[in-house]
């Protein structure tokens, strides 16, 4: 019916309104940058960019995983807590040396993600629920591991590379995040696995009838999301110079979901916009900092964020 309706209105499927929808996040981002350049004092300062990228990099990582999950018509609420858990494991594994500790953090994220994926793929538990349970449990686990205490990480070595170092004014973590973005974008665009993710989200039944491994795809998607959250936890801990189970990753799942949705990955699955999601993260970050730098109450930024989400959702709904 809606198909017929859109044809009658001459919308031609996704051509007309679709492109506007796809571009809206870029346009919004551009406008925000231009406004900031014009009115925000000190916005041109390069430290702003540097700080922004440090903040944005871990969120970009979890937004990638989130976009994959949403692309399959699911969601992953556990990413923020998994960041905290990863940071906690890193703190505990420090005696084994920094590289191994880092690996242990990412590995913990992967395990939680695969557990989540197993519940979703084989026990057919609603992803919203299973990842909600893991949100609570992983945060509690992280807090329990460190007794709720902030544990300082040693200076130097790998943690400085991730938390302090920058080439020019671009932090190392931003390069890593960019590389992961490129990799995930390539996987989604050009590999069989990436296509399975999209197909399963677009029409699970048809995907199964076309012989695709739907369950395995879901399992891996949540595993990837967990591993990326693990890496994001390492980034955040290195930046903070400490592992803080009450701070790292708290509420980050909300930012990731918001960024993915604003970036044009519809909750109804079957489409993933990797670059859009990245721009979504940057948009939300710039929004935060421009409010702060203009001495406007930063809490307005949060209200605006909420409106952005609703508007993005409304646009998606209109476009089917």
């Amino acid at each position: 019916m809606s198909e017929a309706a859109s044809r009658r209105l001459g919308l031609g499927g996704t051509a007309g309104i679709g492109s506007l929808r796809a571009w809206s996040v870029y346009i919004a981002f551009l406008i925000l940058i231009l406004v900031d350049l014009a009115v925000t004092p000190g916005f041109r300062n390069i430290f702003v960019l540097r700080n922004l990228l440090f903040e944005a990099s871990p969120i970009i990582l979890i937004t990638l995983g989130q976009s994959l999950a949403i692309g399959t018509r699911g969601i992953d609420l556990s990413v923020g807590s998994v960041m905290g858990l990863s940071a906690a494991i890193i703190a505990l594994a420090l005696p084994a040396g920094q590289p191994l500790a880092l690996l242990a953090g990412v590995g913990a994220g992967l395990l939680v993600g695969l557990f989540n994926g197993g519940l979703i793929a084989w026990l057919e538990i609603n992803p919203l629920i299973s990842s909600l349970a893991l949100l609570v449990a992983a945060r509690g686990f992280a807090q329990a591991l460190l007794d709720g205490e902030r544990v300082s990480l040693p200076q130097g070595g790998l943690f400085d590379v991730l938390g302090v170092n920058a080439y020019g004014d671009i932090p190392v973590v931003a390069f890593i995040a960019a590389a992961v973005v490129a990799l995930v974008a390539l996987v989604v665009r050009a590999t069989t696995f990436g296509r399975y993710v999209i197909f399963v989200g677009a029409n699970r039944l048809a995907a199964e009838l076309a012989g695709m491994p739907a369950r395995r795809t879901l399992f891996l998607v949540y595993g990837i999301s967990g591993a990326l959250a693990g890496l994001a936890g390492a980034f955040a801990a290195a930046r903070l110079g400490a592992s803080d189970p009450n701070y790292i990753g708290v509420n980050f799942e909300l930012d990731a979901i918001a960024a993915a949705v604003i970036g044009g990955t519809p909750l109804s699955g079957g489409r993933i916009s990797i670059i859009g999601g990245v721009i979504g993260v940057l948009l939300l970050q710039v929004l935060d900092s421009s409010f702060i730098m203009n001495d406007i109450d930063f809490t307005y930024a949060q209200i605006l964020k909420a409106l952005f989400i609703v508007a993005a959702l409304y646009l998606q709904r209109a476009g089917g």
């Binding site: 019916m1 996704t14 029409n203």
Partner: protein, 501 residues
């Protein structure tokens, strides 16, 4: 009020959805105290008619009369208030709540105008159920009852709320023998109470046992109507299946020599009680039609053979080798393709392009180290758009921008791209226009000419006969007979389909 007791009547009602004319000038009358059977294949307009009568849809033109007065049902609640109630095949009640709650939902007896009086509600429910000879505990959870009893509760709800017209949409299709008997006894009881019943069923024997009058819909029009005596079985089936095939040429050419061995063999396939020990085989180059009325098990047989449903028994042999545990992935790998019946929900990936849709089943084959070669994808798209005559703006065009017939060709191309030995097509011409039908037929014949073994169904018998070399006729989930189409008259097949002795 008309003299012959007409309760509900439609006059020249038409309803169009987009390009589909679901109902075309349908005039039809339902009398008090009669059981009126409504028959027709998929897409004939039965459900649209029911939805118009119950206020889900408003007719584009024509009028509905209730007891002689023109009425307009804005929504289902309006029709319910007027005394027109429908009981659906999939029980439309709340399974987790009690029987009494389901019967009184929205109209519970209350104390102080606020609190529901549960004891009174249970008593009243028991009284109503008892009146229809139903011994059901009103406090039982609905889901704890069998499907049959749930259906009874649904009907009891309808009549207890003052229904003058009860529409039963495939009420018996999920019921067992005993349950059907209970249903029939209840229907007889309602007939005595002068309630008008519209009985929609694809089980012809039931229609003839229960109904006073029958109406057949076909392509949104009334194809036949009359009392059961005026409308014998064979005539009814002929009216249901129609003769649109006259415009389709019998273009299948020579059947392959009997010497050619079977490519696809299914032996003793059973699935639940819908497919019962079906055995069939298809030779290379042969097109076999799987005939059967709606509900005879056509789709279920194909899905069980393909592995989309796990068969309870039986085995499938493809190209001389037995297939292990059936699954779609394994079937496709081994060379068995399947085109599902419901294009929208089981076939297309709606947000994606023609390229993606066409190559969906063979991604591993056109990928190297997991990376898909777009060049090979586009080569396949180019090959099949030319070979099957798919009209599209290019490989990147969204699948939903194509017409139904072209979408179907893309899905057939998806099957063919896997280079199958055998292909099962479940109603490949469903919902596409006549010109596109002829093209799809030509595609199937060309592929068969190259040695593909094809098993196909259609809701139109003559079309299926025009398409296939041989027919396997299913009736109630079992094979009722096999016929060579070249040597068989449609009437003979109709008898088989209708289940005549």
């Amino acid at each position: 009020m008309t003299g012959d007791g007409v309760v509900l009547e439609t006059r020249a009602v038409s309803k169009t959805f987009g390009a589909v004319r679901a109902l075309q000038s349908v005039s039809f009358a339902l009398r008090a105290g009669e059981v009126h059977g409504l028959a027709g294949e998929n897409g004939a307009g039965k459900s649209t008619l029911i939805k118009v009568l119950t206020g889900f849809h408003q007719p584009d033109s024509g009028e509905i009369l209730l007891a002689g007065q023109p009425v307009r049902f804005a929504d289902p609640r309006a029709s319910q208030r007027a005394g027109v109630r429908a009981v659906y095949q999939e029980i439309n009640l709340i399974p987790e709540r009690s029987v009494a709650e389901n019967m009184f939902l929205g109209d519970e007896p209350r104390r102080f105008g606020l609190l529901i009086d549960r004891r009174r509600m249970a008593e009243q429910a028991r009284e109503i159920l008892g009146r229809y000879g139903l011994d059901i505990d009103p406090r039982a959870r609905l889901a704890s009852l069998g499907l049959g009893l749930q259906q009874m509760v649904s009907i009891a709800r309808a009549v207890s709320r003052g229904a003058r017209v009860v529409i039963m949409d495939e009420p018996s299709s999920a019921l067992t023998g005993h349950e059907v008997e209970t249903l029939f006894a209840l229907v007889d009881r309602l007939r005595e109470e002068r309630i008008a019943i519209l009985f929609v069923s694809h089980r012809l024997s039931e229609c003839y046992r229960l109904c006073d009058r029958l109406t057949v819909l076909r392509d949104g029009k009334i194809a036949a109507s009359g009392t059961v005596r005026e409308l014998p079985r064979a005539e009814l089936v002929a009216a249901m299946l129609g003769r649109s095939a006259e415009i389709l040429e019998r273009g299948h050419g020579q059947a392959p020599a009997a010497a050619a061995g079977p490519v696809l063999k299914a032996e003793d396939i059973s699935w639940r009680n819908r497919v019962r020990g079906v055995t069939l085989s298809v030779r290379a180059g042969e097109v076999v039609g799987l005939a059967g009325l709606l509900g005879a098990g056509r789709t279920e047989t194909m899905k069980a053979v393909f592995g989309a449903e796990r068969p309870d028994s039986g085995r499938v042999i493809l190209g001389g080798r037995a297939m292990g545990e059936p699954s779609p992935a394994r079937s496709i790998r081994r060379g068995l393709g399947f085109l599902p019946e419901d294009r929208r929900s089981e076939g297309i990936f709606p947000k994606l392009s023609v390229r993606e849709n066409l190559t969906a089943a063979i991604l591993p084959r056109i990928a190297r180290f997991g990376f898909i070669s777009k060049r090979r994808q586009d080569a396949l798209v180019a090959r099949f758009t030319a070979e099957l005559g798919i009209k599209t703006d290019g490989p990147g065009a969204p699948i939903t921008s194509l017409s139904g017939g072209n979408q179907q060709k893309v899905l057939i191309a998806r099957c063919l791209a896997a280079e199958p030995l055998a292909l099962m097509l479940d109603d490949p011409t469903r919902g596409i226009d006549v010109g596109a039908k002829a093209e799809v037929h030509a595609v199937i014949h060309r592929q068969a000419g190259k040695g593909l073994a094809v098993l196909a169904t259609s809701s139109e018998l003559e079309e299926l006969m025009a398409l296939s070399h041989r027919l396997v006729v299913l009736s109630e989930g079992a094979v009722a007979g096999e016929r060579d189409t070249a040597e068989t008259a449609p009437g003979e097949v109709l008898d088989l389909l209708a289940g005549a002795p």
